[in-house]
């Protein structure tokens, strides 16, 4: 079974909750974790991974490069680039900004001087693997600064994870999705059997999770909700009302607890660092419900 955990935006405790749930599930189930936030991965750190056993460079992003020698400075490329990624530098040369180029090659197609613009393959990041101290493997990725296509890295992570699942005879993949609703999240949620959404009771988080839920609906996956920092905003009932109106079962509520940020500093799941904390108790109950109602 593939379980994706998403929130629509970072900072609502998705990775902490994921790490804690993995901690509770690890003894009963054979699983693999995937950190699908290639732009700001942190599940590995939260599970105490310091060194990666295997790292694969992902070459696949493309960026355009202009040969200044043959360029006749006609400006057509700059005019036609859909993402305004070509500019004129101080010496009057036409230059591609590699940090914003999407690699579409439109500039190369419109340039009147053959061979002046070439599309080159560059490294977009790394995909890596480790075995956590809890015994289960984790796949993570890191997008290089200024590169496009973080979604492709996520797809590669999941493919690698599937291979490992076959090799080691694992049954479940738990995917910690990226922030946002773009290609990374679509790659994270695609193929999942169920989505667990995490939100906190604030207007901003509600808006983010509603958007993530629309992506979940595209894939027609069943969704569940966990409310984090459930007690920080007592007057705010809209999150609950929304879940009820959409028929999204609420798996549980995790209270605001300083044990969570403190456990993050210790690089441990809160349920391991502070097993008696309020947050840990709530997470234990949620894990039981996941075992009973979702994984079965």
């Amino acid at each position: 079974m593939q379980i994706a955990i998403a929130s629509g935006k970072g900072g609502v405790g998705k990775s902490t909750i994921t790490a804690s749930l993995l901690y509770f599930l690890k003894d009963e189930y054979k699983l693999i974790a995937v950190d699908a936030d290639a732009e700001a991965p942190n599940l590995g750190l939260l599970l105490g991974v310091i060194e990666w056993e295997e790292e694969r460079e992902h070459i696949g992003a493309k960026v355009a490069r202009i040969n200044t020698e043959s360029c006749i400075r006609c400006g057509i490329c700059m005019e036609r680039c859909p993402y305004d990624s070509i500019y004129i530098d101080d010496e009057g040369n036409y230059v591609v900004n590699e940090l914003t180029c999407e690699g579409c090659n439109v500039c190369g197609l419109v340039c009147p001087v053959p061979g002046t613009i070439a599309l080159e393959e560059v490294r977009s990041g790394v995909v890596r693997k480790a075995t956590t101290k809890y015994g289960f493997p984790i796949i993570s990725a890191q997008l290089d600064v200024g590169r496009p296509e973080s979604g492709k890295l996520v797809t590669e992570e999941k493919e690698w994870a599937k291979k490992i699942m076959e090799e080691l005879n694992l049954e479940h993949m738990v995917v910690d999705s990226a922030a946002g609703i773009g290609c990374q999240v679509i790659a994270s949620l695609g193929g999942a059997d169920v989505a667990i959404l995490i939100a906190e009771p604030t207007p901003a988080s509600l808006s983010d999770v509603q958007r993530a839920y629309k992506v979940v609906q595209h894939f027609r996956e069943p969704a569940y909700l966990i409310i984090n920092k459930a007690d920080i905003n007592p007057g705010f009932t809209k999150l609950r009302e929304w879940a009820e109106a959409e028929g999204i079962p609420i798996l549980g509520e995790v209270p605001y607890d300083r044990a969570i940020p403190e456990s993050m500093v210790m690089l441990k799941p809160v349920v391991e660092a502070f097993p008696e904390s309020k947050a840990a108790k709530a997470l234990r109950e949620i894990a039981e419900r996941i075992k009973g109602e979702i994984i079965g």
Partner: protein, 290 residues
Amino acid sequence: MQIAVSGGKGGTGKSTVAVNLAIALKQLGTELTFADLDVEAPNDHLLLGVELANEEPVVQFMPRFDYSKCTKCRKCAEVCEEHAIITLKDGTPFLMPNLCSGCRACEIVCPVPGAILEGQRLIGHTYITPTPYGFTLVTGKLREGEERSMPLVVAAKKKALEVRKGLLFIDTAAGTGNTVSKAVEFSDLLIAVTEPTPLGIHDTELILELGKLMEMPTWVVINRADLGEKEKVYELAKKYGAEVVAEIPYSENIVKSYVEGKPIVLTNYPEAEIFEGLAERVLKFIGGGE
């Protein structure tokens, strides 16, 4: 002048800093326009307590094939970097709309005039919202189910440049991919909001790297400064030639103001002073405003 606020990972308090700093700057008399370029999860309007207004659709080119003219030469499919065009055995092209980025490469290479027609697809919206604080908020919002945020960041930034008055003040998405570089591009100053936790420090390095690659003066604001090892942030800042300009302690008041959608700089809480101080530094940097 253009200033961007960014912050590696999500949840560092980037939007809180951006919103409060914008209000403080305006209070000091700086004319500005605020752009929320976190198009996948824009919510600065919620923190500002306003409802998005003046919605405008952002549409993108999408090829439509006129099969009566198409010679099935496959050139369009070969050139498409997104592999959005698939061809049947006999060469008939079909579009998979979700993958199309609207770049027009297919249209450029198609040898038959009129075989590729102009189709359109709605990918999101921009909004221009007046705020009660004396500046306008420009927001880009990607449509759910759309994969590519880059075209929307480009469209929203263009819109912001069109309507801007004075300083363009930008809030970006999390991360350091190319959509964040697009939002940050051409800024005179990058303000990186960080956290001194081990996770925060890892992401701080990436955002500082981005600032360096973009050759931009970079400032660091340490949020929740008492929650970890802030010395490490100082070390990193030094390594990248960036300057730590403010420390914000972990504060229940800030959490409360965030939760209630009421910017802290408008309150009498002592934390408001931090943002006022920061605004004064920014003012000095931009030379008294624009």
